[in-house]
């Protein structure tokens, strides 16, 4: 019984190897997850149509999809998506241009690192959302508010990762660079930055997902233009299928952003590992 577990991970089991051909396994790799999704959708549909849960609150999948399709054809929705994504992009630009240099600077010396890491670890756990009212005083409702809010909330993960990355730069590499008389700026570019890269890409992923949450949250809470405001509107009108459709769309956008950032992260990590392998 318990042997099977290891053997199947070690792929040394003649039984599974013999019976399931490569094609079948390739097929099941895509089909099984897809079937799970379909089955869940079917369950939802049944639950809703049969009124197991109030149909009012849980509209059938078909109705949600219909609402999504017709919603996607309106220009208001695209304007809202555009506004949210614009805030995300602008916010992330600011986050990168502040977080990377400041984080690397803090991580560069062990004194500044020790002085700041505890504070920063704490700051990151304090919800950025708390700052919203104060920002609201300053900026009023609008894109400025959203961007500054995104920056405030999403800055910390990247900054902290950049700091950790700097702590992890191989001292031998630094010494080597010094011995060969590599200048300060070149050293940052040739030694520090590349070896921080995996940390930076992890930080970017964390910050990017945070930033998206806050880009949407702002317009949901205070109104203005954005995906959040569209959701709030659908909720206010009481159009449940539309509400679900917009939440679904938000989830899909979140998924795309997360997958993109994860792919980026994996690329840099793999590059890093292969570089390391080549060096040693």
């Amino acid at each position: 019984m318990s042997t099977r577990a290891v053997v199947s991970t070690a792929s040394a089991d003649p039984r599974t190897g013999g019976m399931r051909s490569g094609a079948v396994r390739r097929w099941s790799r895509w089909a099984e997850p897809a079937l799970v999704v379909l089955a869940l959708a079917a369950c939802w549909q049944a639950v809703s149509v049969l009124d197991v849960l109030p149909r009012e609150d849980f509209p059938p999948v078909t109705a949600i999809l219909q609402a999504l399709v017709s919603d996607l054809q309106t220009s208001e929705l695209w304007a809202a998506v555009g506004a949210s994504m614009e805030a995300w992009v602008l916010g992330m630009l600011v986050v990168v241009s502040i977080g990377v240099p400041v984080g690397m600077l803090l991580g560069a010396s062990s004194i500044s690192y020790r002085m700041s890491y505890l504070t920063l670890e704490f700051v990151r756990t304090i919800p950025g959302i708390a700052a919203l009212p104060i920002l609201l005083f300053i900026y009023g409702i609008g894109q400025d508010l959203t961007v500054s809010f995104v920056v405030l909330a999403a800055l910390w993960p990247l900054l902290i990762q950049a700091m950790y990355g700097m702590r992890d730069v191989d001292p031998v590499a630094i010494e080597t660079a010094k011995v060969y008389g590599v200048g300060h700026i070149r050293r940052v570019l040739l030694v520090d930055l590349p070896s921080c890269l995996p940390y930076l890409s992890t930080g970017l992923r964390l910050s990017g997902t945070f930033a998206l949450i806050f880009a949407i949250a702002t317009s949901l809470i205070v109104g203005g233009e954005g995906l959040g405001a569209e959701m709030a509107r659908a909720a206010v009108v009481g159009d449940r299928p539309l509400l679900y459709a917009r939440v679904l769309l938000t989830g899909l956008i979140g998924l795309v952003v997360a997958l993109g950032l994860t792919t980026l992260e994996r690329r840099t990590l793999r590059w890093h590992v292969s570089q390391r392998g080549a060096q040693s």
Binding site: M1, S2, T3, R4, V6, S11, P14
Partner: protein, 306 residues
């Protein structure tokens, strides 16, 4: 059968059933006494572990690696088998298959004459990557006691066994440290102590002394000989050190390159008890290690990679 007469000096497990727990034999038994009841001929002892046309292939399709081609051998009760072979030939894989951790792709492992399914009870294994086999969140003593916990053994007995095993490997006073606070060689000794405390019927060891300095290594080799003589457990030891394979073993099995087969089996007809100084000075010892070395050099010359 010149081997038989050389083995009189050891007790055999047959007299107390196959398993002979260390605890009951903890008083140093007079080796001459127990020799009286030992079978004269080693061939009379039952086969405890057998590999029959064993083959292991990792992966499938184009990326498949045949680690073991076709390996067959028998280990009799109380026997000390040394296995040598070129690096990467599948020695670790072989031990995993013998212990039941890994199911062979072809052939089978037989335990006491019946085909093995799953992990064989009463087997202990000292892994090559000993650092990774110790649990960093448990202190040394807890690591040694770990396999015994949950077996219904009384707490006192359990603690006593662990303490004894630790002192046997010369680590009586580090029980309250974490494994990672010890040197590599000490960690390896902890892993050995854990195996000894378990009092297995069959002990599998994967290059256990590879990272130790010569002094400690010699001491531990002798400890192993002593434990073997006292308990009569079956030991299968993988090593890349030819002197060690001859010094410790009753037989040396030399493996070929991948796909791995048994190249030769060499009977080691050196008298026991053995000791570092005298055994290694014997003419027979030198002849044997020369033979094993020749085999390995010959194997190296057909190495496809070098």
């Amino acid at each position: 059968m010149m081997r038989a007469s050389d083995r009189d000096d050891r007790p055999t497990p047959t007299e107390s059933g196959f398993a002979m727990p260390i605890a009951t034999a903890s008083e140093p038994t007079s080796e001459q006494n127990s020799a009286a009841t030992a079978p004269r001929n080693a061939q009379e002892r039952p086969v405890v572990l057998e590999a029959r046309h064993l083959g292991v292939t990792y992966g499938r399709g184009r990326s498949a690696v045949t680690a073991i081609g076709d390996v067959s051998f028998q280990a009799r009760a109380g026997e000390f088998l040394s296995i040598v072979g070129p690096s990467g030939c599948g020695k670790t894989t072989l031990l995993k298959a013998l212990s039941g951790l890994l199911r062979p792709t072809t052939g089978e492992v037989r335990v006491n004459g019946t085909p093995a399914s799953g992990v064989t009870p009463g087997v202990a294994m000292v892994f090559q990557e000993y650092t990774r086999s110790l649990m960093p969140w448990q202190k040394v003593r807890a690591n040694v006691e770990f396999p015994l916990r949950g077996t219904g053994l009384p707490k006192r007995e359990l603690a006593a066994r662990a303490a004894k095993a630790l002192s046997e490997v010369g680590l009586a006073d580090v029980g309250d440290k974490y494994p990672w606070q010890l040197s590599g060689g000490m960690q390896q000794r902890v892993a050995i102590a854990r195996a000894l405390a378990f009092q297995p019927n069959v002990l599998l060891m994967d290059e256990p002394f590879a990272s130790l300095d010569a002094q400690v290594r010699g001491d531990l080799e002798d400890l192993l000989l002593h434990v073997h003589a006292r308990t009569g457990m079956t030991i299968i030891l993988v090593t890349h050190d030819i002197d060690e394979s001859v010094y410790l073993g009753d037989r040396v099995i030399a493996l070929s390159h991948r796909p791995t087969r048994v190249r030769t089996t060499i009977d080691v007809d050196l008298p026991r008890p053995r000791d570092q100084i005298h055994t290694k000075a014997l003419g027979g010892f030198i002849d044997l290690r020369t033979r094993v070395l020749e085999l390995i050099v010959a194997e190296r010359s057909v190495d496809p990679d070098s």
